[in-house]
Amino acid sequence: MSRGFRYDAVVIGAGSAGLVAATRLAQAGASVAVLAKGVGCTHLAAGTVDVLGYAPELVSRPLEAVAALTHENPQHPYARIGQQRIGEALRWLQATLDAGPLAPYTYVGDADHNGLHPTALGALRPSALVPSTMAAGERTQLERVCIVGTPALRDFHPSLCAANLSRAGVQARAVSVELELERADMSTLGIARRLEEPRWRAEFCARLTPLLRSEERVGLPAMLGLREPHTVHADLEHRLGRRVFEIPSLPPSVAGMRLYESLRAALRAAGGRLMLGAEVVSHTREDGRLSAVQTGAAGHAASYSADAFVLASGGFASGAIELDSHWATHERVLGLALDGVPAPGEPRFLPDYQAAQPLASVGVAVDAQLRALGASNVYVAGASLPGAVPWREASGEGIAVASGFAVAQTITGGRERHG
């Protein structure tokens, strides 16, 4: 026998789209459960919120560019979300971080402006919002910079990063700090935990200080603490006597994990539940509506019924959308219809690696309210949506946050519980 649960809304997926939607629903007074196979995109992504970076030329004013983009491509998720709600969603996210457990660590910037921030390769990537620990790396503030790594960190190569920044006109150089570690391999996550120990942090600064020159900012991989990023960042700036900024690198993403923790805390504070390891394995549909989903969590099955469902399970990267070995595409969670699938005989992929790949913009077919076609109480958010090429246009987190925000608003009809 499976156990039965009832909620006002059930959200499938614990990436940023799912967590934003669930938190907003809970804040509006709905009873909410998030069901997820595992953690989502946050642990892989850069941890920034990119609204629109390339269209395909570099975008400096994202909201303005969104207007042009959606005019040209009415199938783009932003066309259904609307410009105004993108701005609202980003402001809500900042307010949520401000009130969260990592405060005063927050996100800085706004949806009207992109800043250019260095990547681990030394490219300059456009973002609307960045963690406060990354803010000092914005291109217009960078004159002289020292990029710092350590040999144990295989996921960050300061000399390459600095050399590419130099090519882009920044006075950049690299140093490598020898640290006493018991392993030859460290991830940014491992070092982030170490840096939360005050003595270790002091030692790190003591080794780094003599390598620095005056008037240089310091760029480090995103590893300045997981639970106390503000403290770690402020202490480093104090000890080194200069501005310090983080640079995103290979997964696991420490900055993304902070975003996940912040959203999870906000969801809990609003009374929502989050269940990881709860993969949706079957569902019940009645009269064009979804009535319940069933999970196959270890040892026992459970059924969750709700008035509204949010599908935020991701696209091909999460496995929620699949291309099988007979070249057919499926939405694997609820069996919904897909949009943007190349017609038989049309290319799924192009031989040029740099090209935007046709299959990349496949997603669940939705109406103007982001409701799945054929399931009128299923709302779709994040990378499950069709019509975008998120990583090429640098819009992934923006779509996730704004669509999660938008579907929650639609479901609650704009109701909100205050205080």
Binding site: D155, N164, L323, A360
Partner: protein
């Protein structure tokens, strides 16, 4: 123009050309080898990695079967470190003619290919993923070989005996004076210069391209019939033994476990262009279907990558124009002194990787004949550099090395367990700045993630070398990503598509590789 002078100029850096260079240098001849790309980047590097026992040819081509088993035994001695002794099985699946098994057993007996019948139950105990409906199973001494390691070992061995190996040097002209070939003019594709190489004998060991080189020498009628075939690497060792279907050789009837993957092959299509690397959708479908016949569930495994190899089949007037498999797999040695009354020129083409050493031996015999010298071949007993201990490669070798120094070694490529030290050694030794060339030396980026994590790391390590500009490092990274994509996209589906999307996320979403400064 710089001029080099040598005894033997070898054109072609595949297994045959490198084998000729190794053989000739062991016989005390001075050798220069030129290759237009990197070593083993043509047909040699684009096959399934199998060393035949001869079983495949036991019924159809007894001469080839005899050559295979003899060379198989020799390679186990001289190239031990490059080979894994997987053994092989021939199995009769419900899709195969059951009567063939008897002919197979007889053919093996007649050609001297060791062959032991085991019960289907025993075969399934050893290889539980095999089709449960197999009715006969025969054990044969098939094996696999790391061809890049082998060709580099041949080249290093030759270098130790004084040979000069010039990669990225393309032949632009064959120098000829009357009836005498004098060598070749080559273009250094990296340095940009031309050089002239004067040789007493020039060896055309360019496989599927041999007709073109012969034409440059003004020799007519060397027609090599290119047969194009695809191979697909799956991300697991679906089997640990080379598995063959017990039937007349056809498409998609072999799965070869090699290193961390299994390779299924192959198809066979005529092409006019030896550089043709087409992969057709229907060929991919055919391989996946054929895989299911040997290993049910094959389609659910992750298809990592597909590539095309072009067999060099010397034209036989008796064969039909459409099916290149019926053209003999035996090699063709053309002594142009005898054939065309042109001195100083020998062509070796056709054949198969298993017999590359024999081909090299016969070629250098012909070279010595033309030089009027008697020099004995020693390659059947002289181990290649790295194989002196005569120990075969074992799956798990790299893991054992890592476990011996668990915390002291930094892994750059987790899929193939390539450490930072080994990467740095190869960069230092080869001086290469080409990540794709480095890949073939180390198998860097050849596992399930196809470079998603290790290639940023390797680019960083490469750049940290003195003197390499960020522009060069970036260009090498971009070239690697494009080269990988070429083999990935035609088979991309299922969980490997998830992986590819994650890789794209890393390179575009996090690193923004597309917008590096130009």
């Amino acid at each position: 123009m710089v001029t080099l002078t040598t005894d033997v100029l070898v054109i072609g850096g595949g297994a045959t050309g490198a084998g000729v260079a190794w053989d000739a240098s062991l016989r005390g001849l001075d050798v220069v080898l030129v290759e237009r790309h990197d070593l083993a980047q043509g047909t040699s590097g684009r096959f399934h990695g199998m060393i035949h026992s001869g079983g495949r040819y036991a019924v159809k081509d007894p001469l080839a079967a005899r050559e295979c088993i003899a060379e198989n035994r020799i390679l186990r001695r001289i190239a031990a470190d490059c080979m894994e002794d997987t053994g092989g099985l021939f199995v009769t699946t419900p899709h195969d003619d059951p009567a063939f098994a008897e002919r197979f057993a007889q053919g093996c007996a007649q050609t001297g290919v060791p062959c032991e019948e085991i019960t289907p139950a025993q075969a399934l105990r050893e290889e539980p993923r095999l089709h449960p409906g197999i009715s006969r199973a025969f054990r044969v001494p098939d094996a696999n070989i790391d061809v890049w390691k082998t060709v580099w070992a041949l080249a290093h061995g030759a270098q130790q005996h004084g040979a000069r190996i010039l990669t990225y040097h393309a032949v632009t002209a064959i120098l000829r004076d009357g009836d005498q070939v004098l060598g070749a003019r080559v273009h250094d594709q990296r340095g940009g210069e031309d050089l002239e190489i004067r040789a007493r004998v020039t060896v055309n060991a360019t496989g599927a391209w041999a007709g073109r080189i012969a034409e440059l020498a003004g020799i007519e009628g060397v027609r090599v019939f290119p047969g194009r075939g695809i191979m697909i690497a799956m991300n697991h060792r679906l089997v640990n033994t080379v598995v063959n279907r017990c039937q007349m050789p056809t498409d998609g009837d072999i799965i070869v476990p090699i290193r961390t993957v299994s390779v299924i092959g192959t198809t066979d299509h005529h092409t006019d262009d030896p550089d043709d690397q087409t992969v057709e959708q229907r060929e991919v479908d055919q391989m996946l279907d054929d895989g299911e016949k040997l290993v049910p569930g094959f389609r659910q495994a992750r298809a990592l990558r597909v590539w095309t190899g072009v067999r060099p089949l010397f034209e036989d007037a008796k064969a039909a124009d459409t099916d290149t498999r019926d053209v003999t797999r035996a090699h063709a040695l053309l002594d142009h002194e005898q054939r065309d009354a042109v001195n100083g020129f020998v062509t070796i083409t056709g054949g198969k990787l298993t017999t590359f050493r024999l081909m090299a031996e016969q070629t250098v015999d012909a070279v010595c004949r033309q030089l009027g010298e008697t020099r004995a071949c020693t390659t059947a007993s002289e181990p290649l550099p790295g194989s002196e201990r005569r120990e075969h490669y074992r799956l798990g070798e790299r893991l054992a090395r890592k476990e011996a120094d668990l915390n002291g070694e930094q892994l750059i490529c987790e899929c193939e367990m390539v450490s930072r030290q080994r990467l740095e050694q190869v960069i230092a030794r080869t001086g290469s700045t080409d990540l794709d060339d480095i890949r073939r030396q180390l198998r860097l980026g050849m596992g399930p993630c196809q470079g998603g994590f290790c290639i940023y790391r390797a680019t960083g390590v490469l750049h940290a070398r003195d003197g390499l500009g960020a522009d060069q490092a970036d260009a090498s990274l971009m070239a690697f990503l494009q080269e990988r994509w070429k083999g990935v996209w035609p088979v991309l589906h299922g969980d490997q598509l998830r992986q590819a999307r994650l890789d794209e996320w890393i390179f575009h979403g996090v690193l923004d590789v597309e917008h590096l400064p130009r």
